[in-house]
């Protein structure tokens, strides 16, 4: 399956992915509604994008009481708006924090890989987000561990 490979070393923190994502997912240029989120590290000197890995369990999907989350043609877990009642059970079932709730529409929403043409990939100027054939993975763990080591050392000192 093609997945979103997240390559934090290339991320400049420009947030174009968030703008593009929010527009495609919710119809407005509103990074606060993006389902890909860029985290700053080391006092806003480095950044990493984070989104749904389309995990094998699909915790959100199996938790939905009305079957409103399905696997789409791109292999992504996708919320069916007309089925979702907005109960938020999926949001506490997902252990990655990558399913969200839109307070305006009262529906859950998440990365659906834009049905196979991810807008974040298109928008990223540095190929920090790449849509490619791969096993999904912990893309950010090593980067985050390295970029937080100094912070933790300072705090302990």
């Amino acid at each position: 399956m093609r997945v979103l490979a997240l390559l934090p070393d290339r991320c400049t923190g420009c947030l174009r992915c968030e703008l593009a994502c929010s527009y495609v997912q919710t119809g407005s240029f509103q990074p606060a509604k993006s389902v890909i989120r860029v985290s700053p590290f080391e006092g806003y000197t480095s950044y990493a994008p984070y989104t749904c890995t389309q995990c094998a369990e699909g915790w959100c999907m199996t938790a939905c009481p009305v079957g409103a989350i399905r696997i789409n043609a791109a292999g992504a877990k996708d919320v069916l708006d007309d089925r979702c009642v907005g109960c938020k059970l999926c949001t506490i079932a997902c252990p990655y924090g990558t399913i969200f709730y839109d307070a305006d529409t009262h529906k859950a929403y998440k990365c659906n890989l834009c049905d196979g043409a991810p807008a974040c990939v298109e928008a990223c100027p540095t190929q920090a987000i790449v849509y490619r054939e791969a096993e999904t993975a912990d893309w950010l763990g090593d980067f985050a561990a390295e970029r937080t080591a100094r912070l933790l050392a300072q705090e302990v000192a």
Partner: protein, 446 residues
């Protein structure tokens, strides 16, 4: 002869078991479902009450979808007695159903306290679809609704009652609201928020008697003025439906929340009899202790594990994580795991001006419980709700992060990333395989 599976109870656990059996065996076995009601999702009844969905939306199976799954149904019938030696169930109309293995998933019902007048006509519970219909008919604009009980169930229907134009008062016997879902600090913040949104809250109030006076119900209370109400909803807890098993010989826990004792495959003391959902005393993921978790996600996971085992797989259940989320007047409140643990090391933080609250509970380096509260428009701009769940679920060692989290309980995302939680969680599945899209009816003509 194909294996004969018997599913007793058409709620979340039962339906998840059926769906999983069919995912595993593609229709090779016989399945019989005994259910007192048509299968529906209790979780979504508040949205039916709030008029954001039609009644047809609540059903989790239809005659057509059950037929497509090759499920023989006995709907409208209740289980009356189980004879594990004869592998047979007797129904309330005397029908006998034989099985090779069976699942007990008879769930819970709303409980009423022993208050004079609390069981009279015109007093409501909100648990079954039938009860929901009665509440829908009763709660109309301008009516004075009094809800007895400020627990999770009462909070799930709070928005819906307000949206129907009713005036709402909540009465709670405990000194604070949501006594089994959040701590005192969070409860205070939520109570303040609700008061500002026009909900009257009276805590520490014991209702002693409910009487009817010319169509109005008067709730007499210990100390203080009586409350008049047009509609009374009793949200005073639930009781498991296990009485019918009294003579079955199946081992059950005495007292407390009770429940059928089960092993890690959710088998009862009788090897071919499983239990799932509210009636099962399953393993707590965090403590390992046997416990009843009467919540939707536990019923789902129990049901799926039982379904896989019934279909011949060998799936051990890791245990369920206690968790709840509810939104009231656009304020989200969620708690995970052992949030009420006096032995834990606790870090809390509150931003009173933004109605935000966090609580982290540790045993050593392990996060064993968490709480998050904040306005919906704030809370969903972070990944924090699920990340808290992920940290509790993974049990990762956060020792290196504790002093940071003590100072900044709101700043959990870097700790989640840097301790490689996605990498730890990705191999985890409930059934030891990737999940399939749920096969639920898309549209239902009731």
């Amino acid at each position: 002869m194909p294996t004969r599976h018997l599913i007793i109870g058409g709620g979340t656990a039962g339906l998840n078991a059926i769906r999983t059996i069919r995912e595993e065996d593609r229709g090779a076995s016989e399945i019989t479902l005994v259910s007192a009601e048509r299968p529906y999702s209790r979780m979504v009844l508040p949205y039916y009450l709030g008029q954001s969905i039609a009644e047809s939306h609540v059903f989790t199976a239809t005659p057509a979808s059950l037929a497509a799954w090759k499920v023989k149904t006995l709907i409208g019938r209740r289980a009356a007695a189980l004879d594990p030696e004869a592998n047979a169930l007797t129904l309330d109309d005397g029908t006998r159903v034989e099985y090779d293995d069976c699942l007990i998933a008879t769930g819970s019902r709303a409980a009423r306290p022993p208050i004079p007048g609390a069981d009279g006509p015109g007093l409501h519970s909100f648990w079954t679809l039938e009860e929901a219909r009665a509440v829908i008919a009763a709660v109309t604009p301008g009516r004075r609704v009094v809800m007895v009980g400020a627990g999770f169930i009462s909070f799930t229907i709070l928005n819906a009652i307000l949206s129907r134009g009713a005036r709402l008062t909540i009465v709670e016997v405990a000194p604070r609201i949501l006594p089994r879902m959040v701590d005192a600090g969070c409860a205070e913040l939520v109570a303040g928020w609700l008061t500002r949104h026009g909900v009257a809250i009276r805590t520490g109030v014991t209702v002693t008697r409910i009487e009817e006076r010319r169509g109005t119900r008067i709730l007499h209370v210990k100390k203080g003025e009586a409350l008049p109400a047009d509609v009374v909803i009793m949200a005073t807890g639930i009781r498991t439906n296990l009485e019918w098993l009294r003579d079955s010989g199946i081992d059950m826990a005495e007292g407390g929340q009770g429940g059928i004792l089960v092993d890690d495959h959710l088998r009862s003391s009788i090897r071919n009899v499983y239990a799932a959902g509210d009636v099962a005393r399953g393993r707590n993921l965090i403590t390992g202790a046997p416990e009843v978790h009467a919540i939707e996600p536990t019923a789902q996971e129990h049901g799926r594990v039982v379904g896989a085992n019934m279909a011949g797989r060998d799936v051990a259940y890791r245990g369920s994580l206690l968790m709840n989320i509810v939104e009231v007047c656009h304020l989200d409140i969620a708690s995970f795991g052992q949030w009420d643990d006096a032995a834990a090391e606790v870090y809390t933080a509150v931003r009173p001006d933004r109605s935000q609250y966090r609580k982290l509970l540790f045993h050593g380096g392990r996060l064993t419980g968490a709480m998050i509260c904040g306005p919906a428009k704030d809370i969903w701009t972070t990944n924090d709700v699920g990340i808290l769940k992920g940290l509790v679920q993974s049990g990762v060692d956060l020792s290196a992060w504790k002093s940071h989290l003590e100072r900044n309980p709101f700043d959990i995302k870097p700790a989640f990333m840097a301790t490689h939680n996605p990498g730890r969680l990705l191999p985890q599945t409930v059934l030891g395989r990737p999940s399939s899209s749920p096969d639920l009816p898309q549209s239902v003509n009731a």
